[in-house]
Protein backbone atom coordinates (compact mmCIF):
# COMPACT_ATOMS: atom_id res chain seq x y z
CA UNK A 1 0.00 0.00 0.00
CA UNK A 2 1.44 3.32 -1.08
CA UNK A 3 0.00 5.93 1.20
CA UNK A 4 1.37 9.47 1.14
CA UNK A 5 3.75 10.24 3.95
CA UNK A 6 1.31 12.65 5.46
CA UNK A 7 -1.39 10.04 5.96
CA UNK A 8 1.14 7.44 7.17
CA UNK A 9 2.46 9.95 9.61
CA UNK A 10 -0.99 10.76 10.94
CA UNK A 11 -2.56 7.32 11.01
CA UNK A 12 0.11 5.49 12.98
CA UNK A 13 -0.46 2.08 14.53
CA UNK A 14 -0.99 3.54 17.97
CA UNK A 15 -3.80 5.79 16.75
CA UNK A 16 -5.47 3.04 14.75
CA UNK A 17 -5.23 0.73 17.76
CA UNK A 18 -6.71 3.21 20.26
CA UNK A 19 -9.43 4.03 17.73
CA UNK A 20 -10.36 0.38 17.44
CA UNK A 21 -9.98 -0.46 21.11
CA UNK A 22 -10.48 2.72 23.07
CA UNK A 23 -9.33 2.54 26.72
CA UNK A 24 -11.53 3.72 29.56
CA UNK A 25 -14.51 3.87 27.25
CA UNK A 26 -17.34 3.88 29.80
CA UNK A 27 -19.51 6.18 31.87
CA UNK A 28 -18.66 6.90 35.49
CA UNK A 29 -21.79 6.89 37.58
CA UNK A 30 -20.96 9.60 40.10
CA UNK A 31 -18.24 11.71 38.57
CA UNK A 32 -16.92 14.65 40.53
CA UNK A 33 -16.39 16.48 37.23
CA UNK A 34 -18.05 16.12 33.87
CA UNK A 35 -18.27 17.90 30.52
CA UNK A 36 -19.73 17.40 27.06
CA UNK A 37 -17.50 18.31 24.15
CA UNK A 38 -18.75 19.07 20.69
CA UNK A 39 -17.06 19.76 17.38
CA UNK A 40 -19.89 20.91 15.14
CA UNK A 41 -17.68 20.93 12.07
CA UNK A 42 -17.46 17.17 11.95
CA UNK A 43 -20.20 16.20 14.37
CA UNK A 44 -17.76 14.80 16.92
CA UNK A 45 -19.30 14.44 20.36
CA UNK A 46 -17.46 13.44 23.50
CA UNK A 47 -18.41 13.13 27.18
CA UNK A 48 -15.59 13.19 29.70
CA UNK A 49 -16.02 11.88 33.27
CA UNK A 50 -13.62 12.47 36.13
CA UNK A 51 -13.27 11.59 39.77
CA UNK A 52 -10.89 13.88 41.57
CA UNK A 53 -10.02 13.31 45.19
CA UNK A 54 -9.43 15.91 47.85
CA UNK A 55 -5.72 16.01 47.07
CA UNK A 56 -6.60 17.20 43.56
CA UNK A 57 -5.55 13.89 42.04
CA UNK A 58 -7.45 12.28 39.14
CA UNK A 59 -8.36 8.92 40.60
CA UNK A 60 -10.60 7.85 37.74
CA UNK A 61 -11.28 9.14 34.26
CA UNK A 62 -13.31 7.89 31.30
CA UNK A 63 -15.04 8.97 28.12
CA UNK A 64 -17.80 7.98 25.74
CA UNK A 65 -18.66 9.45 22.41
CA UNK A 66 -18.57 9.43 18.67
CA UNK A 67 -15.86 10.80 16.53
CA UNK A 68 -13.14 10.28 14.02
CA UNK A 69 -10.11 8.14 14.67
CA UNK A 70 -8.03 11.13 15.67
CA UNK A 71 -10.47 12.40 18.26
CA UNK A 72 -11.25 8.95 19.62
CA UNK A 73 -7.63 7.88 19.90
CA UNK A 74 -6.77 11.20 21.43
CA UNK A 75 -9.47 10.75 24.07
CA UNK A 76 -8.40 7.19 24.78
CA UNK A 77 -4.72 8.04 25.14
CA UNK A 78 -5.63 11.06 27.23
CA UNK A 79 -7.47 8.91 29.77
CA UNK A 80 -4.45 6.64 30.13
CA UNK A 81 -2.18 9.62 30.68
CA UNK A 82 -4.09 11.75 33.17
CA UNK A 83 -5.00 8.94 35.51
CA UNK A 84 -3.28 9.42 38.89
CA UNK A 85 -1.98 12.84 37.93
CA UNK A 86 -2.68 16.02 39.88
CA UNK A 87 -4.75 18.76 38.27
CA UNK A 88 -1.60 20.81 37.96
CA UNK A 89 0.14 18.05 36.09
CA UNK A 90 -2.91 17.57 33.85
CA UNK A 91 -2.99 21.27 32.98
CA UNK A 92 0.70 21.20 32.06
CA UNK A 93 0.13 18.16 29.88
CA UNK A 94 -2.81 19.84 28.13
CA UNK A 95 -0.73 22.89 27.50
CA UNK A 96 2.14 20.90 26.07
CA UNK A 97 -0.18 18.83 23.93
CA UNK A 98 -1.93 21.92 22.61
CA UNK A 99 1.37 23.57 21.72
CA UNK A 100 2.52 20.46 19.92
CA UNK A 101 -0.73 19.98 17.97
CA UNK A 102 -0.67 23.57 16.79
CA UNK A 103 2.99 23.36 15.85
CA UNK A 104 4.28 25.69 18.54
CA UNK A 105 6.70 23.13 19.93
CA UNK A 106 8.23 19.91 18.65
CA UNK A 107 7.26 16.73 20.51
CA UNK A 108 10.91 16.01 21.31
CA UNK A 109 11.21 19.21 23.28
CA UNK A 110 9.25 17.81 26.19
CA UNK A 111 9.77 14.22 27.41
CA UNK A 112 6.27 14.21 28.97
CA UNK A 113 4.81 14.45 25.47
CA UNK A 114 6.49 11.23 24.36
CA UNK A 115 3.31 9.20 24.39
CA UNK A 116 1.42 11.96 22.55
CA UNK A 117 3.94 12.25 19.77
CA UNK A 118 1.66 10.39 17.35
CA UNK A 119 -0.55 13.46 17.17
CA UNK A 120 2.15 15.86 16.08
CA UNK A 121 1.15 15.23 12.44
CA UNK A 122 -2.11 17.20 12.82
CA UNK A 123 -0.23 20.48 12.93
CA UNK A 124 -0.11 20.35 9.12
CA UNK A 125 -3.85 19.85 8.91
CA UNK A 126 -5.62 22.87 10.36
CA UNK A 127 -9.04 21.24 10.01
CA UNK A 128 -7.92 18.28 12.13
CA UNK A 129 -6.28 20.08 15.03
CA UNK A 130 -9.68 20.40 16.64
CA UNK A 131 -10.22 16.64 16.41
CA UNK A 132 -6.99 15.98 18.26
CA UNK A 133 -7.64 18.55 20.95
CA UNK A 134 -11.37 18.03 21.52
CA UNK A 135 -10.90 15.50 24.33
CA UNK A 136 -8.42 17.74 26.06
CA UNK A 137 -10.60 20.82 25.73
CA UNK A 138 -13.47 18.84 27.17
CA UNK A 139 -11.31 17.62 30.03
CA UNK A 140 -10.28 21.20 30.65
CA UNK A 141 -13.92 22.30 30.65
CA UNK A 142 -14.80 19.54 33.13
CA UNK A 143 -12.04 20.70 35.43
CA UNK A 144 -13.36 24.24 35.19
CA UNK A 145 -16.94 23.05 35.74
CA UNK A 146 -18.14 24.22 32.33
CA UNK A 147 -20.60 21.56 31.29
CA UNK A 148 -20.79 22.13 27.53
CA UNK A 149 -18.09 23.32 25.23
CA UNK A 150 -17.58 23.35 21.54
CA UNK A 151 -14.43 23.84 19.57
CA UNK A 152 -14.74 26.03 16.53
Amino acid sequence: MLLTNRSKNLYQEVILDHNKNPRNYREIEHPSHFAKGNNPLCGDKLDVYLIIDDKNVVTDVSFVGDGCAISKASASIMTTLVKDKTIDEVNKLFEGFHDMATGKIEPDEDPKLRRLRAFSGVKDLPARVKCATLAWHTLDAALKNQEIISTE
Binding site: M1, T4, Y11, G43, D44, D66, G67, I70, A127, R128
Partner: protein, 423 residues
Protein backbone atom coordinates in the same frame (compact mmCIF):
# COMPACT_ATOMS: atom_id res chain seq x y z
CA UNK B 1 -4.41 4.77 -19.35
CA UNK B 2 -5.31 1.20 -20.20
CA UNK B 3 -7.34 0.47 -23.28
CA UNK B 4 -10.51 -1.22 -22.17
CA UNK B 5 -13.83 -2.39 -23.41
CA UNK B 6 -16.27 0.46 -23.09
CA UNK B 7 -19.19 -1.78 -22.42
CA UNK B 8 -18.13 -3.31 -19.17
CA UNK B 9 -19.09 -0.67 -16.69
CA UNK B 10 -17.03 -2.19 -13.90
CA UNK B 11 -13.95 -1.89 -16.07
CA UNK B 12 -12.07 1.28 -16.79
CA UNK B 13 -13.74 3.69 -19.19
CA UNK B 14 -12.27 6.33 -21.40
CA UNK B 15 -13.35 9.95 -20.98
CA UNK B 16 -14.71 11.50 -24.20
CA UNK B 17 -12.48 14.03 -25.95
CA UNK B 18 -15.19 16.66 -25.69
CA UNK B 19 -14.94 16.53 -21.93
CA UNK B 20 -11.15 16.71 -21.98
CA UNK B 21 -11.49 19.79 -24.14
CA UNK B 22 -13.96 21.39 -21.72
CA UNK B 23 -11.53 20.72 -18.86
CA UNK B 24 -9.06 23.08 -20.51
CA UNK B 25 -11.43 25.96 -19.76
CA UNK B 26 -10.92 25.41 -16.03
CA UNK B 27 -7.45 26.52 -14.93
CA UNK B 28 -7.78 25.13 -11.41
CA UNK B 29 -8.12 21.57 -12.70
CA UNK B 30 -4.36 21.69 -13.40
CA UNK B 31 -3.59 22.11 -9.70
CA UNK B 32 -1.37 19.67 -7.89
CA UNK B 33 -2.29 18.74 -4.33
CA UNK B 34 0.20 16.83 -2.16
CA UNK B 35 2.22 16.31 -5.34
CA UNK B 36 -0.70 14.57 -6.98
CA UNK B 37 -3.05 15.94 -9.60
CA UNK B 38 -6.09 17.51 -8.01
CA UNK B 39 -9.22 15.36 -8.30
CA UNK B 40 -11.96 17.84 -7.51
CA UNK B 41 -15.07 16.01 -6.37
CA UNK B 42 -16.49 18.72 -4.15
CA UNK B 43 -18.70 20.38 -6.73
CA UNK B 44 -21.71 20.15 -4.46
CA UNK B 45 -20.04 22.66 -2.16
CA UNK B 46 -18.89 24.94 -4.94
CA UNK B 47 -18.16 24.50 -8.62
CA UNK B 48 -15.09 25.79 -10.42
CA UNK B 49 -15.07 28.73 -12.80
CA UNK B 50 -14.10 28.62 -16.49
CA UNK B 51 -11.62 31.09 -17.94
CA UNK B 52 -14.46 32.68 -19.90
CA UNK B 53 -16.18 33.86 -16.72
CA UNK B 54 -12.92 35.15 -15.25
CA UNK B 55 -12.22 37.05 -18.46
CA UNK B 56 -15.64 38.68 -18.39
CA UNK B 57 -15.15 39.81 -14.81
CA UNK B 58 -11.69 41.16 -15.61
CA UNK B 59 -12.90 43.02 -18.66
CA UNK B 60 -15.63 44.54 -16.55
CA UNK B 61 -13.14 45.80 -13.99
CA UNK B 62 -10.64 47.00 -16.56
CA UNK B 63 -13.04 48.80 -18.88
CA UNK B 64 -16.54 49.30 -17.55
CA UNK B 65 -16.77 49.38 -13.79
CA UNK B 66 -19.06 51.96 -12.28
CA UNK B 67 -22.12 51.97 -10.12
CA UNK B 68 -25.33 51.11 -11.95
CA UNK B 69 -28.74 52.72 -12.49
CA UNK B 70 -27.95 56.11 -11.12
CA UNK B 71 -25.54 57.59 -13.63
CA UNK B 72 -25.82 59.43 -16.92
CA UNK B 73 -22.17 58.96 -17.77
CA UNK B 74 -20.83 56.43 -20.20
CA UNK B 75 -19.32 53.93 -17.74
CA UNK B 76 -22.44 53.88 -15.63
CA UNK B 77 -24.54 53.22 -18.68
CA UNK B 78 -22.24 50.43 -19.79
CA UNK B 79 -22.23 48.88 -16.35
CA UNK B 80 -26.02 49.13 -16.18
CA UNK B 81 -26.38 47.54 -19.60
CA UNK B 82 -24.07 44.67 -18.67
CA UNK B 83 -25.78 44.19 -15.33
CA UNK B 84 -29.30 44.27 -16.75
CA UNK B 85 -28.15 42.23 -19.74
CA UNK B 86 -27.05 39.50 -17.35
CA UNK B 87 -30.50 39.60 -15.75
CA UNK B 88 -32.08 38.96 -19.12
CA UNK B 89 -29.70 36.03 -19.66
CA UNK B 90 -30.73 34.60 -16.32
CA UNK B 91 -34.38 35.12 -17.13
CA UNK B 92 -34.02 33.09 -20.30
CA UNK B 93 -31.86 30.52 -18.50
CA UNK B 94 -34.67 29.64 -16.08
CA UNK B 95 -37.55 30.37 -18.46
CA UNK B 96 -39.08 33.18 -16.40
CA UNK B 97 -41.74 35.29 -18.07
CA UNK B 98 -40.16 38.65 -17.27
CA UNK B 99 -37.00 40.15 -15.80
CA UNK B 100 -39.26 41.63 -13.12
CA UNK B 101 -39.31 38.13 -11.70
CA UNK B 102 -35.54 37.81 -11.52
CA UNK B 103 -34.20 39.32 -8.29
CA UNK B 104 -30.47 39.38 -7.68
CA UNK B 105 -29.44 38.29 -4.20
CA UNK B 106 -26.17 37.29 -2.58
CA UNK B 107 -27.03 33.60 -2.94
CA UNK B 108 -29.59 30.87 -2.33
CA UNK B 109 -29.50 31.53 1.38
CA UNK B 110 -30.43 35.20 1.05
CA UNK B 111 -33.04 34.32 -1.59
CA UNK B 112 -34.83 32.03 0.81
CA UNK B 113 -34.48 34.45 3.73
CA UNK B 114 -36.08 37.07 1.50
CA UNK B 115 -39.10 34.85 0.84
CA UNK B 116 -39.36 33.79 4.48
CA UNK B 117 -39.28 37.38 5.70
CA UNK B 118 -41.17 39.22 2.97
CA UNK B 119 -43.73 36.60 2.13
CA UNK B 120 -43.72 34.29 5.15
CA UNK B 121 -43.84 36.84 7.92
CA UNK B 122 -46.79 38.65 6.31
CA UNK B 123 -48.80 35.58 5.38
CA UNK B 124 -48.31 33.09 8.19
CA UNK B 125 -50.15 32.90 11.46
CA UNK B 126 -50.77 30.49 14.30
CA UNK B 127 -52.36 27.30 13.02
CA UNK B 128 -50.73 27.56 9.61
CA UNK B 129 -48.36 24.85 8.48
CA UNK B 130 -45.10 25.02 6.61
CA UNK B 131 -44.19 21.71 4.98
CA UNK B 132 -40.44 21.17 4.81
CA UNK B 133 -38.83 18.05 3.42
CA UNK B 134 -36.56 16.00 5.62
CA UNK B 135 -33.79 16.32 3.03
CA UNK B 136 -33.52 20.11 3.06
CA UNK B 137 -30.30 22.04 3.34
CA UNK B 138 -30.18 24.30 6.41
CA UNK B 139 -30.78 27.22 4.04
CA UNK B 140 -34.35 26.01 3.54
CA UNK B 141 -34.91 25.13 7.20
CA UNK B 142 -33.39 27.79 9.44
CA UNK B 143 -35.16 30.82 7.88
CA UNK B 144 -38.49 29.02 8.30
CA UNK B 145 -37.65 28.00 11.83
CA UNK B 146 -37.05 31.67 12.61
CA UNK B 147 -40.30 32.75 10.93
CA UNK B 148 -42.26 29.94 12.58
CA UNK B 149 -41.04 31.18 15.97
CA UNK B 150 -42.24 34.68 15.14
CA UNK B 151 -45.61 33.80 13.64
CA UNK B 152 -46.61 30.72 15.59
CA UNK B 153 -46.89 28.71 12.39
CA UNK B 154 -45.93 25.06 12.62
CA UNK B 155 -43.21 23.25 10.69
CA UNK B 156 -44.29 19.83 9.45
CA UNK B 157 -41.67 17.49 8.06
CA UNK B 158 -42.21 15.62 4.79
CA UNK B 159 -40.52 12.26 5.36
CA UNK B 160 -38.12 10.57 2.99
CA UNK B 161 -37.88 6.92 2.03
CA UNK B 162 -34.94 4.66 2.74
CA UNK B 163 -33.49 5.19 -0.73
CA UNK B 164 -33.50 8.95 -0.22
CA UNK B 165 -36.60 9.68 -2.32
CA UNK B 166 -39.23 12.03 -1.02
CA UNK B 167 -42.19 10.11 0.40
CA UNK B 168 -44.83 11.32 -2.04
CA UNK B 169 -47.61 9.29 -0.43
CA UNK B 170 -46.88 10.85 2.92
CA UNK B 171 -46.80 14.26 1.25
CA UNK B 172 -50.31 13.71 -0.20
CA UNK B 173 -51.55 12.89 3.25
CA UNK B 174 -49.91 15.92 4.83
CA UNK B 175 -51.61 18.27 2.37
CA UNK B 176 -54.54 19.98 4.01
CA UNK B 177 -56.14 23.39 4.19
CA UNK B 178 -53.79 24.66 6.87
CA UNK B 179 -50.72 24.21 4.74
CA UNK B 180 -49.55 27.57 3.39
CA UNK B 181 -46.02 27.02 2.19
CA UNK B 182 -44.04 24.00 0.97
CA UNK B 183 -40.24 24.03 0.95
CA UNK B 184 -38.31 21.45 -0.97
CA UNK B 185 -35.05 21.36 -2.82
CA UNK B 186 -35.05 20.46 -6.47
CA UNK B 187 -31.97 18.36 -5.82
CA UNK B 188 -30.68 17.23 -2.43
CA UNK B 189 -27.07 18.19 -1.81
CA UNK B 190 -26.66 15.37 0.72
CA UNK B 191 -28.31 12.54 -1.22
CA UNK B 192 -28.29 13.59 -4.85
CA UNK B 193 -32.03 12.93 -5.15
CA UNK B 194 -33.85 14.85 -7.89
CA UNK B 195 -37.33 15.61 -6.57
CA UNK B 196 -40.48 15.58 -8.75
CA UNK B 197 -40.91 19.33 -8.42
CA UNK B 198 -43.43 19.65 -11.24
CA UNK B 199 -45.72 17.08 -9.65
CA UNK B 200 -45.30 18.64 -6.22
CA UNK B 201 -46.05 22.13 -7.57
CA UNK B 202 -49.19 20.82 -9.26
CA UNK B 203 -50.37 19.32 -5.98
CA UNK B 204 -49.58 22.60 -4.20
CA UNK B 205 -51.53 24.67 -6.70
CA UNK B 206 -54.56 22.48 -6.09
CA UNK B 207 -54.32 23.31 -2.40
CA UNK B 208 -53.31 26.95 -2.87
CA UNK B 209 -49.96 26.23 -1.27
CA UNK B 210 -46.98 28.42 -2.16
CA UNK B 211 -43.90 26.49 -3.32
CA UNK B 212 -40.38 27.58 -2.31
CA UNK B 213 -37.94 25.54 -4.36
CA UNK B 214 -34.27 25.46 -3.47
CA UNK B 215 -32.59 24.96 -6.84
CA UNK B 216 -29.00 25.40 -5.63
CA UNK B 217 -27.94 21.89 -6.70
CA UNK B 218 -30.07 21.73 -9.84
CA UNK B 219 -29.05 24.67 -12.04
CA UNK B 220 -25.52 23.42 -12.68
CA UNK B 221 -26.67 19.98 -13.72
CA UNK B 222 -29.70 20.29 -15.97
CA UNK B 223 -31.86 22.96 -17.67
CA UNK B 224 -34.63 24.57 -15.66
CA UNK B 225 -37.94 26.05 -16.72
CA UNK B 226 -39.75 27.66 -13.81
CA UNK B 227 -42.93 28.15 -15.81
CA UNK B 228 -43.05 24.53 -16.91
CA UNK B 229 -42.30 23.45 -13.35
CA UNK B 230 -45.11 25.71 -12.18
CA UNK B 231 -43.32 26.89 -9.04
CA UNK B 232 -43.84 30.12 -7.11
CA UNK B 233 -40.30 30.79 -5.86
CA UNK B 234 -37.04 29.30 -7.07
CA UNK B 235 -33.67 30.10 -5.47
CA UNK B 236 -30.14 29.44 -6.64
CA UNK B 237 -26.50 30.55 -6.27
CA UNK B 238 -23.90 31.65 -8.80
CA UNK B 239 -21.04 29.66 -7.32
CA UNK B 240 -22.82 26.33 -7.85
CA UNK B 241 -23.18 26.88 -11.57
CA UNK B 242 -19.61 27.91 -12.43
CA UNK B 243 -20.25 31.57 -11.68
CA UNK B 244 -18.89 33.75 -8.87
CA UNK B 245 -19.54 33.69 -5.16
CA UNK B 246 -21.46 36.65 -3.75
CA UNK B 247 -24.38 36.45 -6.16
CA UNK B 248 -27.54 34.43 -6.50
CA UNK B 249 -31.06 34.73 -7.78
CA UNK B 250 -34.55 34.60 -6.44
CA UNK B 251 -37.15 33.87 -9.04
CA UNK B 252 -40.63 34.76 -7.87
CA UNK B 253 -43.92 34.94 -9.71
CA UNK B 254 -44.63 38.57 -10.48
CA UNK B 255 -48.05 38.47 -8.89
CA UNK B 256 -46.54 37.40 -5.58
CA UNK B 257 -43.50 39.66 -5.67
CA UNK B 258 -45.70 42.64 -6.47
CA UNK B 259 -47.65 42.21 -3.26
CA UNK B 260 -44.65 41.62 -1.01
CA UNK B 261 -43.00 44.25 1.15
CA UNK B 262 -39.26 44.73 0.63
CA UNK B 263 -36.84 42.64 2.68
CA UNK B 264 -34.05 45.19 3.05
CA UNK B 265 -34.12 48.97 2.79
CA UNK B 266 -31.63 51.33 1.20
CA UNK B 267 -30.71 53.01 -2.05
CA UNK B 268 -32.18 51.94 -5.38
CA UNK B 269 -35.16 50.09 -3.89
CA UNK B 270 -37.15 53.28 -3.39
CA UNK B 271 -38.86 55.81 -5.61
CA UNK B 272 -38.88 58.57 -3.07
CA UNK B 273 -37.74 59.06 0.50
CA UNK B 274 -38.62 61.48 3.21
CA UNK B 275 -38.56 60.83 6.91
CA UNK B 276 -42.35 60.63 6.86
CA UNK B 277 -43.05 58.59 3.78
CA UNK B 278 -41.20 56.22 1.53
CA UNK B 279 -42.42 54.84 -1.77
CA UNK B 280 -40.96 51.53 -2.92
CA UNK B 281 -39.47 51.07 -6.34
CA UNK B 282 -40.89 48.74 -8.99
CA UNK B 283 -40.00 45.09 -9.53
CA UNK B 284 -37.41 43.71 -9.33
CA UNK B 285 -35.65 46.75 -7.83
CA UNK B 286 -37.90 46.82 -4.77
CA UNK B 287 -35.92 43.83 -3.53
CA UNK B 288 -32.46 45.05 -4.48
CA UNK B 289 -31.36 47.48 -1.80
CA UNK B 290 -28.04 49.24 -2.16
CA UNK B 291 -25.26 48.70 -4.62
CA UNK B 292 -25.88 45.22 -6.00
CA UNK B 293 -23.20 42.60 -6.71
CA UNK B 294 -22.52 44.20 -10.08
CA UNK B 295 -19.36 42.40 -11.19
CA UNK B 296 -20.72 39.15 -9.79
CA UNK B 297 -24.05 39.41 -11.63
CA UNK B 298 -22.18 40.11 -14.85
CA UNK B 299 -19.94 37.11 -14.12
CA UNK B 300 -23.02 34.99 -13.53
CA UNK B 301 -24.36 36.10 -16.91
CA UNK B 302 -21.09 34.90 -18.41
CA UNK B 303 -21.55 31.54 -16.67
CA UNK B 304 -24.97 31.27 -18.31
CA UNK B 305 -23.37 32.05 -21.68
CA UNK B 306 -20.74 29.42 -20.99
CA UNK B 307 -23.28 26.73 -20.13
CA UNK B 308 -25.38 27.68 -23.15
CA UNK B 309 -22.29 27.30 -25.36
CA UNK B 310 -22.00 23.66 -24.35
CA UNK B 311 -24.15 20.77 -25.46
CA UNK B 312 -26.08 20.44 -22.23
CA UNK B 313 -27.93 17.33 -23.32
CA UNK B 314 -24.62 15.61 -23.89
CA UNK B 315 -23.29 16.83 -20.56
CA UNK B 316 -26.33 15.51 -18.76
CA UNK B 317 -25.99 12.08 -20.27
CA UNK B 318 -22.25 12.12 -19.63
CA UNK B 319 -22.86 12.98 -16.00
CA UNK B 320 -25.30 10.08 -15.82
CA UNK B 321 -22.56 7.79 -17.13
CA UNK B 322 -20.17 9.18 -14.52
CA UNK B 323 -22.69 8.50 -11.78
CA UNK B 324 -23.35 4.99 -13.00
CA UNK B 325 -19.64 4.28 -13.26
CA UNK B 326 -18.92 5.72 -9.81
CA UNK B 327 -21.80 3.84 -8.23
CA UNK B 328 -20.50 0.58 -9.68
CA UNK B 329 -16.89 1.28 -8.78
CA UNK B 330 -17.69 2.13 -5.18
CA UNK B 331 -19.15 -1.36 -4.79
CA UNK B 332 -15.61 -2.67 -4.85
CA UNK B 333 -14.80 -0.86 -1.58
CA UNK B 334 -15.30 -3.08 1.48
CA UNK B 335 -17.82 -1.88 4.00
CA UNK B 336 -18.98 1.00 1.83
CA UNK B 337 -22.66 1.82 1.90
CA UNK B 338 -24.28 4.47 -0.30
CA UNK B 339 -26.60 6.93 1.40
CA UNK B 340 -29.09 8.01 -1.22
CA UNK B 341 -29.91 5.61 -4.03
CA UNK B 342 -33.04 7.19 -5.45
CA UNK B 343 -33.84 6.33 -9.07
CA UNK B 344 -33.40 9.97 -10.14
CA UNK B 345 -30.09 11.43 -8.98
CA UNK B 346 -27.54 13.97 -10.11
CA UNK B 347 -23.92 12.84 -10.29
CA UNK B 348 -23.30 12.73 -6.57
CA UNK B 349 -22.57 9.86 -4.22
CA UNK B 350 -22.80 10.12 -0.45
CA UNK B 351 -21.53 7.13 1.48
CA UNK B 352 -20.32 5.72 4.75
CA UNK B 353 -17.69 3.07 5.37
CA UNK B 354 -18.22 0.69 8.26
CA UNK B 355 -15.93 1.58 11.12
CA UNK B 356 -14.23 4.54 9.51
CA UNK B 357 -15.28 8.08 10.33
CA UNK B 358 -15.84 10.29 7.26
CA UNK B 359 -13.41 12.82 8.62
CA UNK B 360 -10.60 10.29 8.46
CA UNK B 361 -11.66 9.28 4.97
CA UNK B 362 -11.55 12.91 3.89
CA UNK B 363 -8.07 13.45 5.26
CA UNK B 364 -6.66 10.32 3.67
CA UNK B 365 -8.31 11.10 0.32
CA UNK B 366 -6.90 14.60 0.48
CA UNK B 367 -3.47 13.05 0.89
CA UNK B 368 -4.10 11.36 -2.45
CA UNK B 369 -5.17 14.60 -4.11
CA UNK B 370 -8.86 13.68 -4.02
CA UNK B 371 -11.07 16.50 -2.74
CA UNK B 372 -14.36 15.29 -1.28
CA UNK B 373 -16.58 16.78 1.37
CA UNK B 374 -17.15 15.02 4.67
CA UNK B 375 -19.61 15.93 7.36
CA UNK B 376 -23.27 16.74 7.54
CA UNK B 377 -23.38 18.84 4.37
CA UNK B 378 -25.52 21.46 6.12
CA UNK B 379 -28.28 18.88 6.21
CA UNK B 380 -28.25 17.60 9.77
CA UNK B 381 -31.84 16.27 9.59
CA UNK B 382 -30.80 13.97 6.74
CA UNK B 383 -28.04 12.54 8.92
CA UNK B 384 -30.49 12.07 11.79
CA UNK B 385 -32.96 10.40 9.42
CA UNK B 386 -30.36 7.82 8.39
CA UNK B 387 -28.95 7.51 11.91
CA UNK B 388 -25.43 8.47 10.90
CA UNK B 389 -23.22 11.27 12.16
CA UNK B 390 -21.91 12.25 8.75
CA UNK B 391 -21.09 11.00 5.27
CA UNK B 392 -18.36 11.32 2.71
CA UNK B 393 -19.64 12.93 -0.47
CA UNK B 394 -18.13 12.74 -3.93
CA UNK B 395 -20.03 15.28 -6.03
CA UNK B 396 -19.19 15.47 -9.70
CA UNK B 397 -19.48 18.06 -12.43
CA UNK B 398 -19.34 17.66 -16.20
CA UNK B 399 -15.59 18.24 -16.17
CA UNK B 400 -14.86 15.19 -14.04
CA UNK B 401 -13.49 12.09 -15.73
CA UNK B 402 -13.75 8.34 -15.39
CA UNK B 403 -10.07 8.34 -14.44
CA UNK B 404 -10.88 10.62 -11.53
CA UNK B 405 -13.48 8.13 -10.32
CA UNK B 406 -10.76 5.49 -10.50
CA UNK B 407 -8.52 7.73 -8.41
CA UNK B 408 -11.33 8.13 -5.86
CA UNK B 409 -11.84 4.38 -5.67
CA UNK B 410 -8.12 3.65 -5.36
CA UNK B 411 -7.84 6.16 -2.55
CA UNK B 412 -10.80 4.59 -0.78
CA UNK B 413 -9.17 1.18 -1.04
CA UNK B 414 -6.20 2.64 0.81
CA UNK B 415 -8.56 3.80 3.54
CA UNK B 416 -10.12 0.39 3.98
CA UNK B 417 -6.73 -1.27 3.99
CA UNK B 418 -5.35 1.14 6.61
CA UNK B 419 -8.42 0.77 8.81
CA UNK B 420 -8.58 -2.94 8.15
CA UNK B 421 -12.19 -2.89 6.94
CA UNK B 422 -13.61 -6.15 5.68
CA UNK B 423 -17.08 -6.84 4.36
Amino acid sequence: MDTVSKDTISQKRETPGRILEIRRDFPILNRQVQDKPLVYLDNGASTQMPKQVMDTINAYHEFHHSNVHRGVHQLSQEATELYEGAREKLRAFIGAASTKEVVYTSGTTESINLVANSYGLANLKKGDKILISNMEHHANIVPWYMIAKKTGAEIVVIPILDDGSLDMDALSELMDNNVRILCVNHVSNALGTVNPVKEIAKMCRDYGVITVIDGAQAVGHFPIDVVDLGVDFYAFSGHKMHGPTGVGVLYGREELLAKMEPFMGGGDMILSVSFEKIIWNELPYKFEAGTPPIAQAIGLGAAVDYLNSLDREFLESYENDLLEYATEKLKSVSGLKLVGTAPGKISLNSFVIEGVHPHDIGTILDGEGVAVRTGQHCAEPVMDRFGIPATTRASMAFYNTFEEIDALTDALLKVTELFDVTD
